[in-house]
Symmetry: C7
Subunit: 211 residues, 7 copies
């Protein structure tokens, strides 16, 4: 009950040194449908479920192409993801225009993190309710990053976020040692298998790939 005193505002610390609103925004990510990514030494693959509101609706995209060699998958609030995607696209474009070279992936992820951190320290704003898996390819090879509503980002060999992502993660962990030398189609196979381990009753998969 006492917890409730500290959890309606992202600028209020709890006595234990927690920001509950940020934790709750992390929960929103877990409510979204699953998406996952994995990379070999040469390729990186993003994969998400293709879901639709209704039978005769078109499918809702959960994977967005950001740049020619950069993409993101999302879990959580789609509207927030679109906003961040638009931000990423603008950053890429303005980088290309200024330096005539693709935006380094890590820098881009850092910019999303800074934007997210800002939302956790201002009254009257709310943390983003979306987690991203950002996959890209630059001079250092393929990358797979996760960004969180709390402003953190992590680099992964393989990762999965969203509802029921634990079983996909288990699959990925068990097979992570196999990925590094994989060809693209084997990598895709792993992605689909991991996705399938999380959702047995659904019938359709969607994948999108970057390398």
């Amino acid at each position: 009950m006492l917890k409730n005193l500290y959890d309606t505002d992202c600028v209020t610390w709890s006595p234990q040194g927690k920001l509950f609103q940020v934790d709750y925004a992390m929960e929103a990510v877990k409510l979204g449908s699953i998406c996952l990514g994995l990379r070999s030494d040469e390729n990186v693959v993003l994969c998400s479920l293709k879901r639709s509101q209704q039978d005769f609706a078109t499918f809702q995209d959960k994977i967005f192409k950001v740049d020619s060699r950069l993409g993101m998958a999302m879990s959580g609030l789609t509207a927030d993801a679109r906003l961040l995607c638009k931000y990423l696209r603008n950053e890429c474009l303005s980088h290309k225009y200024t330096y005539n070279s693709p935006h380094p992936v890590q820098r881009l992820v850092q910019k999303v993190s800074e934007k997210s951190q800002h939302k956790t320290q201002s009254y009257g704003k709310r943390p983003y309710g979306v987690g991203l898996l950002v996959a890209g390819y630059d001079q250092a090879g393929p990358h797979l990053y996760e960004t969180c509503p709390d402003g953190n980002h992590y680099e992964y060999v393989a990762h999965s976020i969203g509802a029921r992502s634990q079983s996909a993660r288990t699959y990925l962990e068990n097979n992570a040692h196999l990925f590094s030398g994989c060809a693209l189609d084997t990598l895709l196979l792993h992605a689909l298998k991991a996705l399938k381990s999380a959702v047995q009753e659904e019938k359709e998969y969607f994948y999108s790939l970057y390398f």
Copy 2:
């Protein structure tokens, strides 16, 4: 009871990772009178009930013409819909003025979504209380989109929103396989039948069409 602690403000996350204010705004859409849309390969039709405050009042428009080949039907707060309609008209005009071509439908719908998302992340604002069915025709043929107060949009072959829209939706789902090759008048007939299935006691229909 605990729910109430998180649901008066659209910048407060619930512990489960929900934004209740956004959900409540979605309810406002369900309270509005029904409207529906469906499309064939060549045509797209919007259809809504013609209702009046009183017997001798003129009818209140629920369908707005946005551009020569673009229209929208609404369910929820009419005043919010007018505001969004005005915004759409301005965007179309400024696009026409700048590029001398009609505004692509999807881009326009994205702009409404961005505007809606913004209202869900700022203290002292409220999410829009209106859902739109946007119908338009561009180089890619006819389109039917739905926009929601939470900043999402979906593309449909046929869709219905507002009070008692479920029965119309059932009719549309059952007949969705017939629409693609329909001529315009058959499509209109389907629209009126779907509308009728939702409202039996009302006596007057209103339809408007775009192709």
Copy 3:
């Protein structure tokens, strides 16, 4: 009791998708003294009660002349009505100055609606507490509009708002079929009869007319 959690702020949705503050502002209109309007094919008439604070006070105007061929009657907070009237006058003047033609009536009513809608979506403001009957004459002939605190407007053949307006409305509904071809003085007679049906004990009427 739960209702009270959502009704002190016009940017808070109730779980049922209602904005209670807007509904309450609609109640303020019902507390004002009655006014009504009706139109034939050629004329439009506004009519309100002449009331005074005290016996030896001058009468308080409830009908305002906006432009040479445009007027409004009000029910609710007089101070809010004056503010809107001033706004309408300014719009008319600036339109006349810019285009050298009278402001189209519907456009003017839409501007009031937009202004009203804006007050329902910003924290720290309140919806206007006044309903207007706007009567005007332009190229399309005479018009009678109602504007509401929630940002809606409706066109009517005949309408009445304010306290005990129901009985006037009943009279108007019963006789609505007679109005279209009426001469101005017959129309005035109908207006006075409708007003009388609502207030039997009051002794004085005030009318004002536009055509």
Copy 4:
């Protein structure tokens, strides 16, 4: 008890369509000491009690001269009245400077009303706690207006506001038919008699006059 939910903020409507904060500000007027005004066809007179904090203090002015032919009496918060008086003086001066003619009385009263209305529609402000009797003389002859905290104004032949103003009002009502042709001194006599009827135990009167 429920009333208390809606009465601490002037931008919150009660479910009955009332703004309680505005009503409470009206109460502040009734707590002030009495002042009254009356007019004949040629003259207008303001009259208020001369009261002092202590025996050896100078008397506190409740009547302010605004312009050469314009004055105001007040009831309620003196500090608010001073502020409004200063505003009126500035308006008169700037009108005189711009048009080289005295400010029409009604327009001036309208400006006070607009200023008062504004305070009833913004969060973080409070309605003025003062009622004014504005007496002035312009081309249309003498005028007597009352302005209220809610942004309304009324024109009167004779009126009285403040604590125990009812008995003065009774006197004025009973004798209102005599005022129109009165000479200035008879008018003053009526004013003093009306004031006396309200306060029997006080010993000193103050009057100020304009014509």
Copy 5:
């Protein structure tokens, strides 16, 4: 208990038409140490207690010289008084610079009142917690004014504010008839006697004079 609903904010009226926060600020004046002022036809004297925090501290000034012929004594929050004193000094200087004449005393007092009134009508500010006795000499002779946190000011022949000021006031009232023709030293004697009547146990007096 109900009172508490209206008394934490200076922009909230109580149902009785009171601003409690302003009243509470008036209480702060009564908590300050006593100061008093009195004037004859030629002179005006301010007098306050010399108190110190500790034995070996210097005495804290409660009387401030504002201009060559203008001073003020204070009761309440010293920090607020300093702020107002600084404001008065600036006003005097700028007046002298602009008009090459001393600032009229009453105008100066009015400016303090306006500044105080402003603090009673804005959310997020608080009324000043200090009462001033302003003594000055201009073309109209000596003046003694009191300014209050509520934005009022009064002129006095003799007045006393602060803790236990009632007994000093009793002395001053009883002897007020003697002051008008007094020489300066007799006036000082009266001031000291009045002060002494309020504080018997204190041993040191401080006086400051203006004429």
Copy 6:
């Protein structure tokens, strides 16, 4: 319990005319470690405890040099003190740059007081949680001032603030009569003795001196 209604906000007066938040900020001063100052006719000495977080940490400064002949000791929040110290240094520098002379001590102290007062009258700010002892030397000789969170300042011959400062104050009071003619080293000795009387168990002293 009722007290709690008025003590979370520095712009809310209690019914007794108190600003509790300011009082609470005064408490923060009492929680800081002790510092003291004393002056003779020629010298002024500041003295504070040298404390460290841990055994192998460097000592935290509680005495700051502001200008060549000006220093301050603090008790309370160190971070607030640093901020004020930086402000003082800037003021001294800009005074020196403008007038080519050291900043008069009292004026400087007044500036701190004004800054502190400002924090007690604005919503959304908090009073500083630090008390300063400002020691300086100017044309009028050595000075020792105390500034408080409430915006007051006092001049002292000798003073001590912070936790357990009462016993140091007792020592200083008992020996205050000896200070005026003291040489600097005797003065230092008194300072150390006073400090020792307050803290018996601590083993290290720190002193800093100005003259």
Copy 7:
């Protein structure tokens, strides 16, 4: 229970003179993983645990290089640390650009403290939830500073912050007398031993060094 009244806002003092929100932010530092630093006369070493979200994720940096001879380790919210790190890097760059010399370490630490203090005195912001160990080398040799959310900073010979940092601190205290003359590799050994004393079950260490 009463405590809760004062601890949701960093601009509210508790009656004991505490700012609880600042204390709670200090708790956030204790929740972070451990990091430590120590210095000899010639070298300074920072050391933190290498932890990863998952087995196949890359390690998350807790030590950031700021400048060629300046680095920082962090404990608490990583996102806040990144923000401060970026700030430090910018300050260093702009100093280098302006003065063509490295930024003095202490000045840099002071700037972080000022930034932190600012967050403790403004409504609608929150104190940073991160503690930093800043290690650097300038003309005065190697330095090790700690900055806290409350705006304080301390210089240390050796220090450790974060979860279970007490045992590391014990090791450092016991061996602090050995550090001053240490060679770099002995210093590193001490750092690793101290780290190991805090975490026995973890298997991997990460260190980074500056001199």
